[in-house]
């Protein structure tokens, strides 16, 4: 064996064995490609999930049909729920405007004005009527904001859970990235091996054309000459006994010119 011989390990193997080896590698390449696609889709899905979950994107990523990613799916659901709570809170605050503590502060001021004698700056009847209405509107506003506390609590809990989940997804994604790197490396090796096997098989291919017994038989039946290899092939395939004298109709001989050519021609003698 020569040093640096690329095909050293293949030289002792049968052609069929190498071919089966090639087939095996081609199958495994298809496998690797499938795994790579699956893992890359998974990474892409996780990345979209994280973007959505941290609020960098408003579009809910479509869940991939080909694989199940429970953690990312669960986090997505949590973020959707979180967004719903935010919307609920915003809608409520758009209606009420003031937060609870400001409502209480304002109620206290209004109550003081309505119930305490304030020396020379006494209220007019109209001011009193307006403040009376405002006091009870503030009371109603405060009551309307009761669900806010529950919403804020839920938002806090969901926010913590989503943060934890995003960390876990990121960790899983790093693991997947390692798998993808390993698969890429494996794919490189497999492709290289396939190339090597194909190259070896190409180098082992006979250079001359295989002997065609049929063609040899045809040549004999037409009266032509055949080589030794053709003869061997003919003997291997039924011998000379069944050669039919199926002479192809020879092309019409041209009228020989009166003056025969003096040129040398192959296979016929000039007489």
């Amino acid at each position: 064996m020569l040093d640096g011989d690329l095909f050293a390990d293949l030289r002792t193997l049968e052609r069929s064995e190498i071919q089966s080896n090639l087939l095996h590698h081609e199958r495994s390449l298809v496998d690797i490609d499938e795994q790579l696609t699956k893992n890359r889709n998974l990474t892409s899905f996780r990345s979209s999930c994280i973007k959505f979950c941290v609020g960098k994107s408003d579009d809910v990523p479509p869940s991939p049909a080909e694989h199940q990613e429970d953690l990312a799916q669960a986090t997505l659901s949590k973020r959707i729920e979180f967004n719903q709570f935010i919307q609920q809170r915003d809608t409520l605050m758009e209606r009420i405007v003031l937060p609870k503590y400001r409502i209480i502060q304002r109620m206290s001021v209004v109550y003081e004005k309505l119930t305490r004698s304030q020396g020379t700056t006494r209220l007019t009847l109209n001011q009193e009527i307006t403040l009376f209405s405002e006091f009870f509107e503030l009371q109603a506003m405060h009551a309307q904001l009761d669900p806010i506390e529950t919403i804020e609590r839920e938002l806090g809990a969901l926010h913590r859970q989503i943060s934890e989940d995003v960390k876990a997804i990121n960790k899983a994604d790093r693991d997947t990235a390692k798998i993808i790197s390993a698969l890429v490396e494996k794919r490189k090796q497999t492709t290289r091996e396939i190339g090597r096997l194909k190259a070896f098989l190409r180098s082992k291919k006979p250079k001359s054309k295989p002997v065609d017994a049929g063609q040899a038989r045809k040549t004999i039946s037409q009266g032509g000459s055949i080589s030794l290899e053709d003869l061997g092939a003919l003997l291997d395939h039924g011998g000379l006994s069944n050669i039919e004298s199926t002479k192809e109709p020879s092309p019409k001989k041209k009228k020989q010119s009166a003056t025969a050519s003096t040129k040398a021609t192959r296979g016929s003698r000039n007489t």
Binding site: E94, L114, F132, E137, Q139, H142
Partner: protein, 151 residues
């Protein structure tokens, strides 16, 4: 009053408190009015006296020029008394106006029926039924005005 207990005040309770306060004012204000009235009488008297003093000074020096210092002092006293009189009168008018307002308020709050109360509680009812608060309406009106001015 504790902040949280404000949430439990009913319209009728607040109405009673307002009415009680107004009735107390209605008792107190006539006394104050009388006091201011007497004060005004005194202020008028002082003003008139200072005017008489100046007239006497001018009469005592008939034909000759009055002492400029004494004349200036007398004129200053008149001005001071006039300012005081005006101030006292303004106080009296204010007390009278408060008294009038108080009597009108007592009349308004003491005959409060359910229909009137429902009108007063329109804002609260709207908010309870899921509508916008007055603060929200004012805010959107303000932003609309802002949009219009920018357009």
């Amino acid at each position: 009053m504790q902040d949280k207990s404000l949430l439990e005040v009913s319209p009728h309770e607040l109405l009673d408190i307002i009415l009680t306060k107004r009735e107390k004012d209605a008792i107190h204000l006539p006394k104050e009015e009388k006091k201011r009235d007497e004060e005004l009488t005194r202020a008028y008297k002082m003003y008139n006296e200072s005017k008489t003093a100046l007239a006497q000074l001018l009469d005592s020096t008939s034909g000759t020029e009055a002492d400029p210092l004494k004349r200036s002092q007398a004129e200053n006293v008149i001005e001071e008394n006039e300012t005081h009189r005006k101030r006292v009168m303004s106080r009296l008018w204010r007390v009278r106006s408060h008294l009038k307002e108080t009597l009108a308020a007592i009349e308004y709050w003491s005959v409060m029926d359910e229909a009137k109360l429902t009108t007063l509680l329109e804002g609260a009812t709207r908010v309870n039924e899921g509508g916008l608060s007055t603060f929200a309406m004012n805010k959107s009106a303000l932003s609309e005005q802002g949009d219009d001015s920018h357009a």
